[in-house]
């Protein structure tokens, strides 16, 4: 085998090995950012015709457009801001989120003050997110008030369960 062929193969192999590393890093990168960026772009695209329609719309319909804007301001994720799970985020995609110490909860709380099925968070018909206490021992607090009925969650309002605090963010 000629010296030249072997040199080409030697350098070629190193190049291929590094190419694999780079491709793997690209996969991680798309795992982090890929989907979210495209979603945001699509949403802005969808918002533009609506805005144009609103300019021409009579006041009565503007009310409805306002409703549409509220949905666009809807929270997209649930963030744990205090407690052992701090930093955990769950994407809100229309599913019900259960919180508690039970192992099958969406968010498993490791907290002696939480009940096994403590609370749940779900969207109502208008896409407004509702928090409901499931008869827990120590209660669920929205800001400072203890919940007795299913209550809509304002954006960024702290929901306290035992030592854990969660909030909804855009």
């Amino acid at each position: 085998m000629s010296e030249l062929t072997l040199t080409v193969m030697r350098l070629g192999f190193l190049a291929v090995l590094w190419l694999f590393v780079i491709v793997a890093v690209q996969v991680i990168r798309s795992d982090l950012f890929g989907t979210r960026v495209t979603q945001r772009g699509a949403r802005r695209e969808a918002a533009r015709p609506q805005q144009a329609a609103r300019q021409a719309a009579p006041p009565q319909q503007r009310q409805q457009a306002g409703g549409g804007r509220q949905r666009r301001n809807a929270p997209s994720k649930l963030v744990v801001s205090e407690g052992t799970l701090t930093g955990t985020t769950v994407a809100l995609q229309g599913q019900t989120i259960t919180l508690g110490r039970a192992h099958d909860s969406t968010i498993v709380l490791d907290d002696d003050y939480a009940s096994s099925r403590h609370a749940r968070i779900y969207p109502d018909r208008d896409g407004q997110w509702i928090v409901e206490d499931l008869g827990s021992t120590n209660g669920t607090y929205l800001d400072r008030t203890r919940l007795t009925t299913p209550t809509p969650i304002p954006l960024g309002a702290p929901i306290r369960i035992g030592k854990t605090v969660i909030e909804l963010r855009k």
């Binding site: 085998m1 062929t5 072997l6 040199t7 193969m9 030697r10 350098l11 070629g12 192999f13 190193l14 291929v16 090995l17 590094w18 694999f20 590393v21 491709v23 793997a24 890093v25 996969v27 991680i28 795992d31 989907t35 052992t84 799970l85 930093g87 955990t88 769950v90 994407a91 995609q93 229309g94 599913q95 019900t96 989120i97 192992h103 969406t106 968010i107 498993v108 490791d110 002696d112 779900y122 969207p123 109502d124 018909r125 509702i130 299913p150």
Partner: protein, 480 residues
């Protein structure tokens, strides 16, 4: 009226379908094809460099590796569809490169002439197949990693038995100064490799229950949280056991691996930096203390501090000294930046354990600094995906188990690579996936299987809520 509105609102939760998260299985497939082709390229390259022809076994070898990767991929697709797309390709690539390097050392006439059997590569392929089989078993039968939580204390007993097995007379084997092997039916098994996984299960289950006591009951002193005396119990026990391993099995690597894994998991569970400070102090005290009276460890430290002196002594026929540490450094040196190319180095001169403990020297010589860096990055990516899995896991047990397994993997890579490169004293562990040896390959495939299972649970979108039976029965009154 009002009752019906609340009812429709709860009913509505079931009608909104959750948007499907991409499972990324096709990405994994593409990467796997890539990961199989790279070792095939290397295999052809070795044949061309040594024998001037494409090796005859190229097709069967490529098909073998490809088949194993395909089986792994199909099982992941079926049983863990949302798992991380990188773990399987990375493990496959590392394993494939290891097979090539072992086969390349098989070709050396020098190694064939001395007892080092000339057919380590087919055996290694068989071990890989067994490893992938265990990987498949883990993914099929371990439906939920939280099941392991039930076996916390059984795991502790199991791990202790595995660790103590090499000390049982008649079963344990004293090979090359370290007692970390047992021989069963003609096979040499390194139980420590399996104990690594079982012990991670125990630590995760134990720390999950105890971490509040360990984290909160402490005093602050000079910026450090000092734990209470009675909370030091567990770390002292694990420390004592790892010291016992060091004294009786005379293996620094195993001892360091277990203690390090415990300290990492303790830190992650309690978020207290003081545990790391304590851990480092205790392992330093233990290692120095034992090295002062244990001749085998003492010898390893000498070889680390002055490899050239050790080499000359061994050349002069002095018993009990080894020339490998220096030879490994020469191999790295002669490789330079870009290496000599596959099959054109002389790492077979290391002779003994060239294809197991010192396999990294072969890569260092034939692929050079560029190749070793890429190799270490592959390991780093594997560990990163493990840590990412731990971050994404929603249950504390899964978090701790994932961090423990990836931490142990990282420590093992560090201990072996550091030993071969002369950063720390050489120990008797093997490079995961690369080195020749059955236990290591099989145990590490099982480890990757568990990580994939946790990552599947963590990345799986939350299940659609069950339809509410009451909502079906109640008629909705709509004002017309």
């Amino acid at each position: 009226m009002s009752s019906s509105t609340t009812n429709t609102s709860t009913h509505h939760t079931s009608t909104i379908g959750s948007i499907g998260t991409p499972s990324r299985r096709n990405t994994e497939l593409a990467l796997l094809v890539f990961a199989v082709l790279i070792p095939v390229f290397a295999y052809a390259n070795v044949g061309l460099a040594i024998n001037d022809q494409v090796p005859t076994g190229l097709l069967s070898y490529g098909l073998g590796l490809g088949l194993l990767a395909a089986v792994g991929h199909l099982v992941v697709r079926k049983f863990a569809p949302y798992a991380d797309p990188l773990l399987l390709p990375l493990a496959t690539l590392l394993n494939g490169l290891g097979l090539v390097a072992i086969w390349r050392l098989d070709q050396s006439e020098l190694l064939q002439s001395i007892k080092q059997a000339g057919s380590a590569a087919p055996r290694q392929l068989l071990y890989t197949a067994m490893g992938v089989a265990l990987f498949v078993v883990v993914l099929i039968f371990l439906k939920d990693h939280r099941v392991l939580q039930r076996y916390t204390y059984i795991s502790m007993v199991g791990a202790l038995i595995l660790l103590l097995l090499p000390l049982v007379p008649g079963l344990g084997k004293n090979l090359y100064g370290a007692k970390i092997w047992i021989s069963v039916a003609g096979f040499s098994i390194q139980p420590g490799e399996f104990a690594k996984i079982v012990l991670a299960v125990f630590f995760a289950g134990y720390l999950m229950v105890k971490r509040d006591a360990l984290a909160l009951a402490s005093r602050r002193f000079m910026g450090l949280y000092l734990p209470r005396g009675r909370d030091l119990g567990p770390i002292l026990v694990v420390w004592a056991i790892s010291i016992l391993i060091l004294v009786f099995e005379t293996d620094l690597g195993t001892s360091l691996l277990f203690f390090g894994m415990f300290v990492i998991m303790l830190y992650v569970a309690t978020e207290r930096t003081s545990w790391i400070v304590f851990g480092l102090l205790m392992s330093a005290v233990g290692a120095v203390g034992v090295a002062s009276f244990e001749p085998h460890i003492q010898q390893r430290v000498d070889a680390w501090l002055d490899p050239m002196r050790e080499y000359t002594l061994s050349r002069n026929g002095e018993f009990g000294h080894s020339e490998q540490a220096m030879q490994a450094l020469w191999a790295f040196g002669s490789g330079g930046t870009l290496g000599t190319g596959w099959g054109q180095g002389h790492s077979e001169l290391i002779r003994f354990a060239a294809n197991s403990d010192f396999i990294l020297a072969t890569f260092g010589e034939e692929l050079g600094l560029a190749g070793v860096m890429a190799l270490l990055l592959l390991y780093a990516l594997l560990v990163e995906r493990g840590v990412r899995t731990a971050l994404a896991a929603r249950d504390p047990f899964g978090k701790l188990l994932a961090i423990g397994l990836s931490g142990a993997f990282a420590l093992q890579v560090f201990v072996v690579a550091g030993g071969v490169m002369g950063l720390i004293p050489l120990t008797g562990m093997t490079m995961p996936f690369l080195a020749s040896g059955g236990s290591s390959v099989i145990a590490n495939w099982a480890l990757v299987g568990i990580l994939l299972r946790i990552s599947d649970t963590a990345r799986r979108p939350a299940p659609a809520p069950a339809p509410n039976p009451d909502a079906e029965m109640t008629q909705v009154v709509r004002p017309s």
